[in-house]
């Protein structure tokens, strides 16, 4: 199941003068859990609608299993969608909701019931069969919507911010269940969200979208530790962006002059080029003892610390006025206004594309 299931090539979507998607190309591998992550207006939901057949792209093609489905209606695609508001049929019992897709495929009543019960058991709601949707809680409706989509055995399950309407605790719980469910059924999931924690928790691969383009894609670890662009670095958690200039370059490495000193990073750039580097707050330590191999930065002033449980979040100001986010150890009980020498894990610096 490692073949390419979906090929989207040069998808452009325009509404009047507004370009929602700008030549987006994306391949989806069979069996993977793909997350489209981005802020509202980034085009992620439009891309999902194009996959599901609810929108037709202005330009570009969509191939599923090698077959061109760009203009195929949703009913004739091997896809099923779980909507953000669940979109259960309010006048039908849960059992009939789940059996609806099978009914449309001409499956007999008895076989439908058996399959619907199996699907409900799979999502952990076997007792809901005879109830009406309005008798269920938000999380239960979500499961029914999942069962209703999975029972027709789609090649591709599309989830449009399916956890968006749930409260935080339930959302984290459903994340785990969703991931476990995907592993069990092996169906390819494409999941849209703006919640980066959710994306990191469930995705095999994250596609970061912004302003109608793909900014970055890769495993959650890759996106977090090696973001490709400034947007990806800032959207996936917090990050410091350092401006600098390349002063030396050699086979795949560049030495960049920054406010923190000369830093050696991976990447190919010409000498003299202006570049940006990303560094996570947890790779700058304000006070206390730093792990071996970390290098000292210029003297800075600690302006603010915030207790976050596992650690302190700190803001430090460099002599030239640059503000950086850093970590302060809990044991150090740092004082605001004191001068410190921040320690930097220079290996974690990432050279950004923009």
């Amino acid at each position: 199941m490692t073949d390419t299931l979906v090929q989207m090539s040069a998808i452009t979507q325009r509404y009047g003068s507004l370009t929602v998607l700008d030549r987006v190309s994306l391949d989806i591998t069979g069996g993977e859990f793909l997350v489209l992550l981005g802020p509202s207006g980034s085009g992620k939901t439009t891309l999902l609608n194009i996959l599901g057949g609810f929108a037709q792209p202005t330009e570009g093609r969509v191939l599923i299993s090698g077959e061109d489905v760009t203009h195929t209606p949703p009913a004739k695609r091997p896809t099923a969608t779980v909507f953000q508001d669940y979109a259960l049929f309010p006048h039908m019992t849960v059992g009939n909701n789940v059996g609806f897709g099978l009914r449309m495929r001409g499956v007999g009543s008895a076989a439908r019931k058996v399959k619907a019960r199996e699907a409900l058991a799979m999502v952990g709601l076997p007792e809901a069969f005879g109830r009406k949707p309005h008798q269920l809680s938000g999380g239960q409706r979500q499961r029914v919507a999942l069962a209703r989509s999975l029972v027709v055995e789609p090649l591709l399950l599309l989830l449009d911010e399916p956890l968006g309407a749930l409260d935080l605790k339930l959302r984290r719980q459903m994340q785990d269940e969703l991931k476990a469910l995907q592993r069990r059924v092996g169906t390819t999931f494409v999941h849209v969200t703006h919640d980066q924690e959710e994306a990191m928790a469930i995705a095999d691969r994250i596609v970061v979208m912004n302003a109608g383009r793909i900014e970055d894609q890769g495993t959650p670890e890759k996106i977090y530790l090696q973001p490709a662009t400034r947007f990806a670095a800032l959207f996936m958690g917090e990050s410091n962006i350092l401006e600098g200039r390349v002063v030396a370059a050699s086979s795949g490495r560049a030495t960049v002059e920054t406010i923190l000193g000369r830093m050696d990073v991976a990447g190919t750039r010409d000498v003299g080029a202006k570049v940006s580097l990303a560094l996570r707050p947890e790779h700058i330590q304000a006070g206390g003892t730093a792990p071996a191999g970390w290098v000292p930065g210029p003297e800075a002033t600690l302006t603010e610390t915030l207790f976050l449980g596992a650690h302190n979040r700190a803001r430090i100001v460099l002599p030239d006025g640059t503000l950086l986010l850093a970590r302060a150890p809990l044991s150090a009980s740092p004082q605001q206004g004191v001068h410190i020498t921040p320690m930097i894990d220079a290996n974690r610096l990432v050279l950004l594309k923009d």
Partner: protein
């Protein structure tokens, strides 16, 4: 609050309700009159005029005709209104705003004008006066009403539910029949019974467009031409009873708060 004012408001309220309901109360009361003329003094109660109504073939035929016209014209009004509302609620097309206005415009035209217009049009087209012609007239007056009710009930929250049905393989007619219509069931029911109510006691269009077979209001009108009789009171009371039942049904459907 001072007592005299209290009494005054009570009297005023009584006068208002009396003004509205006294004529109907008098009509119903004298339908039980035992003598030949429906004027005081009241001699009764007696069911002789109800017996006379049920024995009158013309009135019974009119009752049946009214029932047929009301049911069939209302069913057609609801069907056409539902399709139109679905089109306006779910699709974009040029001239949607003005066309929407035109759909409901007949609501503000008097029945007399609509009746005369239809009479002239049917004459010109060679359509004979009949119950069918009257039924078409009732569709003209009731379809805009059904459209307005159903259109107001088709919200955006149902769009995703219909998409879900399509996504699961439903053809367009299956979406309409299995999802959209059942979700709108109370509104469909209400617009049907509202149409039946209006069709049931509509006079002028039926009067202009029928000839040999007449609806009940037209029969009552011809009965009234030969003077007052407790028999007209009795049939009037029956018409009123049916209308009341329909209004109560409406109250229970359209104006009831939805559960969730």
């Amino acid at each position: 609050m001072p007592r005299p004012l209290n009494i005054l408001t009570g009297v005023y309220a009584l006068a208002i309700y009396g003004f509205i309901f006294l004529p109907v109360a008098v009509l119903v009361l004298f339908s039980f009159q035992g003598t030949l003329i429906p004027v005081p003094p009241f001699n009764g109660p007696s069911l002789r005029w109800y017996n006379a109504v049920f024995a009158d073939r013309r009135l019974m035929a009119g009752l049946w005709n009214s029932f047929l016209v009301a049911v069939f014209s209302s069913a057609l009004s609801v069907f056409l209104g539902f399709l139109a509302a679905y089109g306006f609620a779910r699709f974009r097309f040029p001239g949607k705003g003005p066309l929407n206005g035109l759909m409901t415009a007949p609501l503000s035209v008097s029945y007399l004008i609509i009746g005369m217009g239809l009479l002239i049009s049917f004459n010109w087209l060679g359509v004979p006066k009949s119950l069918i012609a009257a039924g078409i007239g009732h569709v003209v007056i009731n379809m805009p009403l059904c459209f307005a009710i159903l259109y107001s009930q088709m919200g955006d929250h149902q769009v995703n539910i219909e998409r879900a049905a399509r996504d699961l393989g439903a053809a367009e007619w299956q979406v309409l029949g299995l999802v959209t219509a059942p979700m709108l069931w109370p509104a469909l029911f209400a617009s049907f019974f509202l149409s039946v109510t209006f069709s049931w006691d509509e006079f002028i269009i039926s009067f202009l467009l029928t000839r040999f077979d007449n609806t009940l209001p037209v029969e009552i009108w011809s009965l009234l031409r030969s003077g007052l009789s407790p028999k007209t009171n009795a049939i009037g009371s029956l018409v009123f009873l049916v209308s009341t039942v329909l209004v109560v049904l409406l109250e229970l459907t359209l104006f009831r708060k939805p559960k969730s």
